[in-house]
């Protein structure tokens, strides 16, 4: 018996000619928060679909909570909670009815359901709104109700597909704090997908960067960033950027240079940003490239994403 809550090997999903997921391996320890970070269309939702038994894998295998997602689908289903990317709620019921019906589908008895609903309303702070029709809820309240529904049956693994998509910053941070509390208090394992770097950064113990159906890098948020270098100098300018990049690549203290073709930004990873700033900017002048703006920062998960995929992650 391993203490892995999620184990996937070589998961592949093809739809005709389209390969949505192209051989993903995942290992998520029990009690961890794992974030799959990637742009829309990277294959995150399809991966969650396979792990939650909704999508049949074309190849590969996966175990969730110790059960095989294909051969033991029913056991997997009774041990997991899921929230979907789109809001999936019956708008004509009250919040309480939504939770109650969900509990009944999992054969929870009446007393347990009442107790769970009281606890969950408290956790996601829905208060008296729980007895209102879902139609009247704001987007943030709907997301919170969905989170409560995912938790209703006390799952050992919770899957959250883009849990804060479309929410304002205030609602987003409150969802984050519920997720962190849950994980800390009950040791619940969470796998979430997101295309917000801050979300992966704020929540995850482990981040997997997903691009075009592949897991291109994996590690702790700080570990992924630490690979890049101590500081990053971001240069925005116009002119012969190829020549500029060549020029600074030759400098001994430059660890790595990345050029984002879409925005024209150049990221220069160096040992110390403040010390090397002048030389970097100097390399731009007089070489057919003029610098417009320079910032010095610690590298972020966004830089790690750009490094591993060659593209910037945009909302």
């Amino acid at each position: 018996m391993s203490d892995m809550a999620i184990e996937a090997r070589g998961l592949v999903k093809r739809y005709g000619d389209l390969t949505a997921v192209d051989g993903i391996d995942l290992h998520v320890e029990a009690g961890a928060i794992y974030a799959m970070l990637g742009p829309n269309g990277a294959g995150k939702t399809t991966t969650i679909g396979m792990l939650t038994t909704l999508v049949q894998p074309t190849a590969g295998e996966a175990r969730v909570a110790g059960f095989d997602v294909v051969r033991q689908a029913k056991q997997v289903r009774s041990h997991i909670g899921v929230t979907f990317q789109d809001i999936v709620l019956d708008q004509d019921l009250t919040g309480r009815q939504v939770l109650d019906i969900h509990g009944r589908l999992y054969r929870q008895d009446g007393e347990l359901r009442r107790k769970r609903i009281v606890d969950l309303v408290d956790l996601v702070q829905l208060g008296d709104a729980i007895d209102r029709i879902v139609k009247t809820y704001s987007g943030g309240m709907k997301r919170r109700l969905e989170l409560a529904r995912g938790l209703m049956t006390d799952p050992s693994v919770l899957f959250l597909d883009e849990p804060t998509q479309g929410l304002d910053p205030q609602n987003r941070t409150s969802i984050w704090s519920y997720i962190r509390d849950l994980n800390r208090q009950s040791g619940l394992t969470l796998l979430l997908t997101t295309h917000y770097m801050e979300e992966a950064d704020a929540l995850a113990h482990q981040v997997g960067i997903v691009d075009r159906g592949k897991l291109v890098a994996q590690g702790t948020p700080s570990g992924l960033v630490a690979q890049l270098g101590a500081d990053v100098i971001r240069v925005r300018g116009h002119g012969d950027s190829a020549h500029f990049v060549e020029e600074i690549k030759r400098m001994p203290f430059v660890e790595r240079v990345e050029f984002d073709g879409d925005s024209g930004n150049v990221s220069v990873y160096v040992d110390s940003g403040s010390r090397r700033l002048v030389e970097i900017v100097g390399a731009g002048g007089g070489n057919g490239y003029s610098v417009e703006d320079v910032t010095v920062a610690r590298p972020s998960l966004g830089d790690a994403f750009l490094h591993h995929t060659g593209r910037a992650l945009r909302d």
Binding site: D90, D92, L93, Q97
Partner: protein
Amino acid sequence: MYATYVIWSKHMTKFWRSTEELVGLALQSVLWVVLFGVGMRGMVADVGGSDYMSYILPGIIALSALGGAVGGGMVLLDERLRGITKEYLAAPIPRLSILLGNASSTATKALIQATIMLIVGVLMGARLTVNPLGWLAALLLLALFAIGFSGLALAVAAVSRSIGGYHGMIFLFNLPLLFASNALYPLSVLPGWMRVIVLLNPTTYLIDAVRSLAFGVAPTLPLLLSLVVVLLFAVLGTWLALSLFRRSIRV
């Protein structure tokens, strides 16, 4: 089959809450019986010895069951298009219960409507037999018929990509099932070629059986044959719904 019951009770909860649906259903039933029955009664005094209201009521009720089934298919389609089916699929319940929950809530609504129509019809002068067992048998047949047609509607709902497409497809079934039947006119007045078509239509058997069981109209088809046909229709509808639904969730 506990999950079937949960899904059924959820649909019924929504049904009782939705005043428009309730009032609409009740008014529709009354209007059908009153307008159709009264209008046609002016033209036709009696058919084969029984009054026209008794003759036509089973047909109107069958028609309303068709309408109810269309509504039931809409519930499934709505849940599919809005993704609510995913909540069921991620739960440890049999796939079949999603479908049966829908079919049974549809049949329940159709039966409620049929009962209202029967009462209104009787108030309007339809003559029921004095045999409550016959009424019960008639209602049971109606339920089977509703399940069969719900099956067709659910099958279409399982594969439709939009609400408009669903209604277009359903319309193709709905009209011939009513008009190519003995709902409004007796078999004997039809030309031979049309009689063949009408005899291929399960609605014909339902109506003939309900007429003789609940209203004492002499059956024109063997009662046992009618029972078998309606039962087969229910099985076929369910099977069709199940196979198309299975296909729609296999991703």
